[in-house]
Symmetry: C2
Subunit: 205 residues, 2 copies
């Protein structure tokens, strides 16, 4: 299932997770309109950046009136929050399989990064939104660090990394830049070579 | 002399270099109007990105009519070209002194990167414009690679770098990301720690 399918709600197998989501999806018709708005937001944010998102632009691309937007979302911030939530879910989904194959540490970190690089090359929307999210939000960058830190800590503890604990965060910021910047334009081969250099920098390759 | 001073033409010691520039600066009055447009472009590009540059926005910030813009520049592309030219001149100026202190190679590369990181932390406009330039233009990224490649090649030849020749460009792209992304927001200490990790990745620290 492509990231775009997940983001747009097509091909979504799992039921909505939270009570709030269930309440929001009141009817099929309401659901479709909501997803049209959401899909418009993905397109605008992917092509022009998160900063370009506003109600007028989203409504224009979704082909609805400005007022209709407010039937489904309270604000653009709400759309962005939902976008970030689905982005995170998609990343987690991508990594669940990898997580089952390795113990925590250097090899798992490398495999996870490799899986994300692969997904980015397969899905332009995913790639552009990840770039936008990492570029625009310190919170998202911190989520990435938080998810990755335990792997590096395990690698250091196992003697499989030459990084010091103080270097973990600047190192993860570099990995984030190598993996996510460039969006859909960056070639997978170029991302992979950068990641290889960084793994070697940490003594993990 | 700060980068902003250079960009805005204030404090400029050297005479204009090309015949074209001399022709363009026809009178003091014309020069002042041109620099007002130019300074507005710096402000808009620095705060909102190069993509936000258009004649209306520049004219608005410069406090002139749209038509007046065309008395001094043929297009926004011309402004951007001039912006990139001055950016490059400022970078060259920053590095001239460093270049005199070292032979080509690992130590000079590290010193040059350190000097640029220092300048970025001193001048928010410079930092934001460099970020924008590296983000938006493959040509600018290639200029950065072209200027830096000989240092890495010399380091490899002298056995002072563990990089292979094929790794030079992805490595330089990583250094570019570490140094220039984040704009004025990124802390100098964070940039420096990232650069240290990258120098170690290349066996140069």
């Amino acid at each position: 299932m492509s990231y775009h399918a997940v983001l747009s709600g097509r091909g979504r197998m799992k039921p909505p997770k939270s009570a709030q989501t269930i309440l929001e999806v009141k009817s099929r018709k309401g659901h479709r309109a909501r997803e049209a708005i959401f899909e418009a937001a993905i397109r605008v944010a992917g092509a022009e950046g998160l900063a370009a998102l506003n109600v007028s632009r989203i409504a224009e691309v979704a082909g609805i009136g400005r007022a209709s937007f407010y039937n489904y979302f309270d604000s653009v911030d709400d759309v962005v929050a939902e976008l970030m939530k689905r982005l995170q879910e998609e990343l987690e989904e991508a990594l669940t399989e990898v997580h089952g194959e390795f113990d925590r540490g250097a090899a798992r970190f490398a495999a996870c990064v490799g899986e994300v690089v692969k997904r980015l090359s397969e899905d332009a929307d995913f790639a552009n939104l990840c770039r936008e999210a990492m570029r625009g939000s310190e919170e998202v960058r911190e989520q990435f660090r938080k998810a990755s830190r335990p792997e590096i800590e395990a690698a250091i503890a196992a003697g499989a990394s030459t990084l010091s604990r103080e270097e973990i965060d600047p190192y993860l910021d570099l990995v984030g830049l190598a993996v996510f910047s460039g969006g859909a334009e960056a070639k997978a081969s170029s991302r992979r070579r950068q990641v290889d250099i960084l793994l070697r920098a940490a003594g993990m390759a």
